[in-house]
Symmetry: C2
Subunit: 303 residues, 2 copies
């Protein structure tokens, strides 16, 4: 299962009562943070969560409202005694940027930076080979990436096949864990005993962007799409086009086209005060549209 | 008069419901900000104030809880359309630090940095020669400065003396403004027509520091001393000594020794949940002690 908390739902600038958009994922007690605008460490505490076990930080782009909270967030992990390294992933320029903006941060552990290249990239969450993070370029005013987090779920162990293949029982558990065993002349591989891979979990996060093919394709079939909706009203389409953002309707169309199960809107313009009303309206386009709010939480579970 | 708002009262890290210590001063519609930890721009909005007319930013030192909000604060002025330059004053290293930590800030105006030197320095608020800002080194784990803001108040205009000195009436107003007038062979100076300088206003701000002579001397006679009190309990003196902070009692002793009119305690440890109770106790040391809180506001007026 994957615990999901939307720490904030604001875009551009933090407001009293509205934190900047940032997503916090928890898998087997370890965390992934996506984006870290000013105040993210406070939003996290407000949601009753701790930064401590955050192994991966994914940054969509380098506009201030997505990264100004990084030094504070990293410092909060030092305060809580973190020693494990942290992997930060983001656009080109990341390796130069981190030491600058974190010049006054207090960091007690190694920070490993990874700059994304090309149009798409995939890597596993350190220590969790079944958690694949897929980064894909989207369409904003500067280089910006969306992220899908895919949790693979192996098939069931098939004792019948293991017996048929005359695999000693002492190796069953190891094979079930996905490891290959060699015993004298015999080599036993997991596919000899495991059933077909089952449906895992998929979460996609994308902000800031215009609707684009990359997002539609990469969000395909997500259990949850957390997507920007800068403007509730369709009348603000020209602003959305100019600033490379989306209206709620466009986000809902993206969710429908990508055939996701559920859509959370977020990254509202500071002027947007009626997110729930506009979300209700765009349910005509995509029924399972939900207006994000600070602290919105869910747990994605396997079918 | 001088409007004073304590934007936050926390130290070390921002907490839900407790912003980091930062002071906002308003004089004749222009503002001075002292310290800018993460969230300062939000705290300001929460207090119903705008960053827009902030001409001077004074930084005590470069620990993250005093400067991580600077990029967001500077960006908020860009969003509100600021064009006037901003003067930022702080310890040595400021000129190198600002471009780094503000690498993702959006700044539409000139930022003028001034690094403090020696043990004390004094300069006027740009455009307001009567507002003298006095910086003085205090005693923390890294180079740290306290600040006094002194508003000078000229004496009353003395029409009798002006007549005695046979100064033409047309020059009275100019002289009253503090300017010197030359008319042929005659030179008229303000001191020929102005009474003795009257008592102005003095506010002193100091955090983080141990009690020290520099603070006691520079806070002398302040109308308001905003002073750090990291620890409410006297039992935490050893922590105060180790971390170069103060207990409430030490802050109250400082206020008493400096013969200030009023003391606001601030920069509480995140663990400090009983500031009001401890403030009540230290009123035995200094009667006009007040526990600071987010948004605490007063207006200092001339006697």
């Amino acid at each position: 299962m994957l615990e999901v908390t939307l720490l904030g739902c604001g875009g551009t600038m933090p407001l009293p009562g509205r934190w900047l958009t940032s997503l916090f994922l928890r898998y087997q007690g370890r965390n992934i943070l996506i984006d870290a605008g000013e105040g993210t460490q406070i939003a996290l505490k407000q949601a009753g969560l701790s930064s401590h076990r955050t192994d991966v930080i994914l940054l969509t782009h380098f506009h201030g409202d997505h990264v100004m909270g990084l030094p504070g967030f990293l410092t909060s992990m030092t305060v809580s005694g973190r020693k494990d390294p942290v992997l930060i992933v983001g656009p080109k320029g990341l390796l130069e940027l981190i030491p600058k903006i974190c010049a006054v941060a207090s960091i007690s552990y190694d920070v490993l930076g990874h700059e994304l290249e090309g149009e798409e990239e995939e890597f596993a969450m350190p220590g969790y080979p079944e958690v694949l993070i897929h980064a894909f370029k989207v369409d904003h005013s500067i280089e910006t990436w969306g992220y899908s987090v895919n949790i693979k779920r192996p098939g069931r162990f098939d004792a019948g096949r293991a017996r048929e293949a005359e695999i000693p029982v002492k190796y069953w558990k190891v094979l079930q864990k996905g490891e290959t065993v060699t015993d004298g002349d015999h080599t036993y591989t997991p596919d000899m005993v495991m059933g077909e891979e089952r449906k895992g979990l998929k979460l996609t996060y994308s902000t800031d962007t215009r609707p684009c093919r990359s997002l539609r394709e990469n969000a395909q079939g997500s259990d949850l799409l957390v997507c920007e909706g800068m403007y509730g009203e369709d009348e603000k389409l020209s602003a959305a086009l100019e600033n490379k953002h989306m209206t709620f309707s466009e986000a809902a169309q993206t969710a429908r086209d990508a055939q996701v199960k559920e859509l959370w809107l977020t990254h509202y313009s500071p002027a947007e005060q009626n997110a729930e009303i506009h979300a209700e309206r765009v349910r005509e386009i995509f029924a399972n549209t939900q207006a994000g709010f600070d602290g919105k939480h869910t747990v994605l579970t396997y079918e």
